[in-house]
Amino acid sequence: MGDLVQAELRKTTTTTLWWALLIPTVLVALGGGLLSGLLGQSIVEVFSSSEAEQLSDALGVTPDQWKFSLLGIGRTINLATMFPLIFGALAIANEVGTRTITTTFLTAPSRVHAMAAKMMVYALWGTIYGLAIIGFTALGIVLTSNSGQMPDAGGWAMLTLVCVLSSILMTMFGVGLGALIPNSAGVVVLLIMYFLVIENALQLGLRIAGVPETAVGFLPNGSVDGLTGSVAVDLFLADAGVVPEEGVYWLRVIAGAGGAQAWWLSGLIFLAWVAAAFGGGWARMTQKDIT
């Protein structure tokens, strides 16, 4: 098994895809961090003006201490994990496309071994992408906001955990779907369309149709977004003092956790989606005639 893992690792490091996708990942993370920091900082400045201060004092809230930049982190992670998702999707789709899958299966004790080795290596890559994402998002925020806008060490640890988890799960979702639809262009277009357009339209449709808000949290993007968004909102609320109920709703929507369950439950829901995609892809690849 160690041999196969090394082989799969070499497959990923001997072509340029990993850094070709890591560059935009880092740019999105850094850009998202910078933007979150800037927006958070300017919102705080608006609230710190004297008139606003009178208003907030009257309401008994303290928005000048709110860490708005936190809300952008969840969004940034969600957008940046599109790249590990694509990286995962190409794992098997590219092998089927270039027909290297034949040699892969000929040199492994069984297809199950080959797939398992691939899974481990892509989990590792998911971790690497996840660390890059949280690292560069943090860098962007550090560069643009003062320390009052930033979470404490425990908060960063929590954000790192969910960012890496989210990245691993997105990568795995990609691997599964790429096995289910082993066509590189097709599966990449489908995933981008789904995560950026289709599900957003679906969420909007559900809201318009008056379906309970929580339904959104059970969709793939709704749940994976909830995994990071919920943590961002939790961290925000922990230091925010009094926040009106209506305000919490909008905070969740802004953070990308609208309608989502608690972070861990959101993670489990997305894990179920990953398992479904992976199970389907696994079944397809272990049965498929390679002609």
């Binding site: 196969l4 082989a7 270039t98 034949t102 000929l106 040199t107 390679i290 002609t291």
Partner: protein, 317 residues
């Protein structure tokens, strides 16, 4: 675990792709120590059979084993069997050396083996180049190199001569023969008997998914009736003498020679001597294997000459 015998056994193998029967109740065995040709026209089911043997295609029924085991029970298959299936299966942007190193680690052999097989197939100087830029023949050599990585006991090759230059074909021929002489097993498919005639000892001939002939190439040659061409000083006298000796099939050729069936050259010469006829030239016809091959396999997907010309029969069937 496998028995290390080097034996390939195909038994009642059948594969149905929807309504297409690619392989039908095929049986044959391949022994170590010889090169076995797997022959049949296009669409006969050769590739499908080899892929079933290699566990890439699931048989509808029947079994195919290497060393007494189906492929997925070989344990470390890369060390038992090497396969050349097509001049594809390379990431275009991966270098030749890196491609081989990927699979060297999958098989569990040292990285040095990658450079070794590159040298063996004559691609050492291209080791650092991306395989996407290789010519067809270079890719075919890469496929052979990949097959040899695990120093396997059994080699399975599907039309490996495709795209190879004459030098490459000669190299492959010698390589396969010496490989077999080491007591290993070689199964090589082709749709051209002539292409492998000088390489193989045994043949399995398939057509429409079924076995048409299976045995030594020599026996196939002997099935063909031999003819002797003789140029006598007196055609009439020799013909009379031969008829008296019991020869039925005699044919006079336009160039004045006699074509004699049912006798070898020596017998014809002796008959001429007894009849007092001089012999100016005599030769035995080589058995035309290609014709036997045609007879065994003709029919499927037989092409036709384009209508306006109509001078030739047959296409690539």
């Amino acid at each position: 675990m496998h028995d290390g015998s080097g034996l390939i056994a195909v038994q009642n193998l059948t594969k149905q792709f929807g309504s297409v029967t690619a392989v039908q109740n095929l049986s044959f065995t391949v022994s170590p120590g010889s090169v076995t040709g797997f022959l049949g026209p296009n669409g006969a089911g050769k590739t499908t059979t080899l892929r079933m043997l290699l566990g890439l295609v699931k048989p509808t029924s029947g079994t195919a084993t290497i060393n007494g085991r189906p492929f997925h029970q070989l344990g470390r298959p890369g060390r038992v069997v090497g396969a050349v299936l097509e001049a594809q299966g390379f990431h275009p942007n991966r270098t030749a050396r890196n491609h081989l190193r990927v699979y060297a680690s999958a098989i569990g052999v040292p990285d040095a083996q990658a450079d070794q097989v590159l040298g063996l197939v004559g691609l050492s100087t291209a080791a650092g180049r991306n395989v996407g830029g290789f010519s067809l023949g270079m890719k075919q050599r890469m496929a052979v190199a990949t097959a040899l990585l695990g120093d396997p006991q059994v080699l399975v090759l599907d039309e490996p001569a495709n795209g190879l230059d004459p030098e490459g074909i000669a190299w492959l021929r010698n390589f396969l023969q010496s490989f077999a002489r080491m007591g290993r097993t070689v199964l090589i498919s082709s749709h051209l008997l002539a292409e492998v005639e000088q390489t193989v000892d045994q043949v399995v001939i398939v057509s429409r998914g079924q076995t048409m002939y299976y045995g030594p190439l020599e026996h196939l040659r002997q099935q063909q009736q031999r003819r002797v061409f003789v140029q006598p000083s007196d055609v009439g006298a020799l013909a009379t003498a031969l008829r008296e000796a019991g020869v039925q099939a005699l044919e006079q050729l336009p160039d004045g020679r006699l074509a004699v069936s049912g006798m070898d050259a020596k017998q014809v010469a002796d008959a001429a001597l007894r009849a007092g006829v001089s012999v100016y030239g005599i030769q035995e016809e080589q058995a035309d294997l290609e014709q036997i091959f045609f007879r065994l396999t003709s029919g499927q997907f037989a092409g036709h000459a384009p209508a306006p010309y109509q001078q030739q029969q047959g296409g690539w069937a």
